[in-house]
């Protein structure tokens, strides 16, 4: 402890043997010998791991966002919120590993061994979220589910099986498990659930399980197919690493980085191999200048692929992401990397995954930023306004985005916190 002696005025000169805190002008540094007794706070421990969070945005009246107070306000002074234009945090009990958006509904899955592995919210008129028993009538199911509600799967080993991935269509959903195959639920008017088509079926209480992976219809004919059948054409014998489809066009990426396409080509999605408007059998697409493809994504009228170098190529019809002038393209057009944050300060930023909604695109970079572009249907882009976006624009999410699911008018993002 330092002793500071002060001789005050000459008349009453006495020595102060203690520390004395005279007021000093602001800005002069404290003497190092004085002890600092301020307590040290710890806000975060040394071994804290980042947490997973879920953010939702878009059209909320179907209940697809999972926040009931947007549709039915819980306090008299609040008003219903029709569009959520910026990302809003959705509270989940468990860490969500996979999410999928359909037309007005959402499925969230957690890959744990707990009994509740799957939550659904939104439209349920075709039982796309399973049977949600009502409070008042045990034989009726809710038409709209406003909050994430558990979806019960008829598993043989519910305490062992894990859900790996979920996927949603317009009015049906598919759930992939690790040991019990694929489960499907919802509308089956075209056999999309993989079970036999029943004319005028009432979809409210049906559930069916299939042991094979459900494949999109590329069988060479135009009638309905209600059972999963292997796809032929150019894809016979090819190892496929990823399949993507949305409206009526499908793309498959092989392990060698080649792209095969089939389905609707009305919007020039498959114009590199055919001039017809439909192709009922898969053909290899010779995409020039694209290189090895890692991932493909299909939208309603547009298509995007991502190559090994992290570059995004788009083609088709609609807002493609290269300004308002480019609304249609038959050949892949590269989206410039400057839009994804590449600059002299960050020359190595690349895109790590792409997704497509019905009329919009989403891209996630390796730095965890989410970029969206396309038609802003009912606020689905999450950029804070209702205007369409003609080039990639950042969505402000507080954290590192790991995955995103795009629906027609809403989106769900799986985010990891930074600390």
């Amino acid at each position: 402890m330092a002793l500071v002696s002060i001789r005050s005025c000459g008349r009453c000169g006495f020595l102060l043997g203690l520390r004395a805190y005279a007021t000093r002008p602001v800005g002069t540094p404290r003497k190092r010998e004085q002890q600092d007794d301020t307590p040290v706070f710890q806000y975060v421990g040394q071994h804290r791991k980042p947490q997973g969070k879920v953010f939702v945005w878009g059209f909320s009246y179907t209940g697809a966002l999972g926040i009931p107070s947007f549709v039915v306000p819980d306090s008299g002074r609040k008003k219903p919120r029709k569009y959520q234009l910026t990302p809003y945090r959705l509270d989940t009990e468990q860490k969500i590993s996979s999410a999928a958006c359909g037309y007005g509904f959402t499925l969230l899955a957690c890959n744990s061994r707990d009994l509740t592995k799957l939550w659904g919210m939104g439209l349920n008129k075709d039982s796309q979220l399973g049977f949600q028993r009502t409070q008042h009538d045990r034989h009726k199911s809710y038409d709209y589910v406003l909050e994430p509600s558990p979806v019960s799967l008829p598993l043989v080993n519910p305490q062992e099986t894990r859900v790996l991935q979920v996927s949603c269509g317009r009015a049906h959903s598919l759930v992939l498990t690790d040991s019990e195959g694929v489960f499907s639920m919802g509308n089956n008017a075209y056999g999309q659930c993989g079970r036999k088509i029943v004319e005028d079926e009432v979809y409210r209480f049906v559930f069916q399980q299939y042991k094979q992976h459900a494949v999109t219809h590329g069988l060479g004919h135009h009638s309905k197919a209600s059972c999963p059948v292997p796809v032929g054409g150019d894809l016979a014998g090819v190892k496929v690493q990823q399949v993507a489809t949305y409206g009526d066009c499908s793309l498959a990426v092989s392990t060698e980085g080649q792209v095969f396409g089939w389905g609707n080509s009305e919007y020039l999605q498959l114009a590199s191999v055919t001039e017809a408007t439909q192709m009922s059998s898969p053909r290899l697409l010779p995409l020039r200048g694209v290189g090895r493809v890692r991932q493909a994504a299909c939208g309603g009228t547009q298509v995007a692929v991502l190559n090994e170098e992290g570059e995004v190529f788009v083609w088709g019809f609609g807002i493609l992401g290269k300004g308002p002038k480019l609304s249609e393209s038959a050949i892949p057009e590269r989206v410039p990397a400057t839009f994804f944050g590449r600059s002299e300060f960050n020359p190595t930023v690349k895109v790590s995954s792409i997704r497509c909604g019905l009329n919009h695109f989403a891209a996630i970079t390796d730095r965890g930023e989410l970029f969206v572009w396309g038609k802003n249907v009912r606020g689905c882009l999450g950029i804070g306004k209702h205007d369409d976006q003609y080039f990639p624009w950042r969505v402000t999410v507080p954290g590192h985005v790991t995955d995103v699911a795009c629906g027609v008018d809403h989106m769900v993002a799986l985010v990891k916190t930074i600390i």
Partner: protein, 256 residues
């Protein structure tokens, strides 16, 4: 015989003192008392160009030294300590993620304040080339941010910004600390570049003589001419306005 006229007292420099020419000196972008680095001065006719430099929205580079562990009232290490926190959970990885997030938000602000209609093809063309810049009034925006050195509790950031004040940069260090769930203070702000004027060409104390100053002015005559021309372009009306400025900026950027 003495020549009395030449012996007038006022002819002796010891009596009158050294003779000075009155020259007007102006200062460019301010640098406050806590900071150091490049300060641009204009002498005589150069003062007019100074004004154009201020208006032209050139970027400036800074090196910021920071220290984790405490928060003070004026965001510097000399202020009164308000709170002390632990910082053993901070790693370079987390710091870089926080900087990426801050930079992302600033990139967005850059385009939003550029006052261009984003639904036009011209806006897209400018955005591709990275030329969407705030031309009017804007809050401080960082165009580049990265961590140069990390040695907890000390770290150094390199920042490139427009329209900033040094107090804003010190507050930035404080905010980086907050994002990392700890606190940070700024222990130094050093400007390394102000538009085309870099720290390598700056005159240090020993060189504050007439000879070096004249040499420095000659060295930068090209740059000053460019800035003056920029202002002339600005005064002509129409589309030429933004295009030329944008070209000048790219040219001056490539020159650096």
């Amino acid at each position: 015989m003495h020549n009395y006229k030449s012996m007038k007292l006022m002819n002796f420099s010891e009596v009158t003192g050294p003779q000075f020419h009155k020259v007007h000196v102006g200062v460019g972008h301010r640098l406050d008392a806590f900071s150091s680095g490049v300060l641009v001065l204009g002498i005589g006719k150069g003062n007019g160009v100074l004004e154009h430099l201020c208006k032209s929205h050139v970027t400036r580079d800074y090196m910021l030294e920071g220290e984790f562990g405490k928060a003070t009232d004026n965001f510097t290490h000399t202020g009164r300590v308000i709170e002390k926190t632990t910082y053993d959970h901070v790693t370079l990885d987390k710091l870089e993620r926080v900087l990426a997030m801050i930079q992302g938000a600033n990139q967005k602000a850059l385009i939003m304040y550029s006052q261009v209609d984003l639904h036009t093809q011209e806006a897209y063309e400018l955005a591709v080339r990275g030329l969407l810049y705030p031309h009017g009034k804007s809050p401080p925006i960082l165009t580049g941010l990265r961590c140069i050195h990390f040695n907890p509790p000390h770290f150094t950031l390199e920042v490139q910004c427009v329209n900033e004040t040094q107090k804003y940069l010190r507050k930035l260090i404080h905010e980086v600390g907050l994002e990392l769930r700890t606190s940070a203070v700024c222990s130094g702000v050093r400007r390394t570049r102000d538009g085309p004027f870099k720290v390598e060409n700056a005159l240090t104390r020993q060189h504050w003589t007439a000879g070096s100053i004249i040499q420095a002015i000659a060295h930068f005559s090209k740059a000053t001419r460019k800035i003056r021309k920029l202002e002339m372009y600005k005064q002509t009306a129409g589309q030429l306005n933004s295009n030329a400025q944008v070209q000048e900026q790219t040219r001056s950027q490539t020159d650096e």
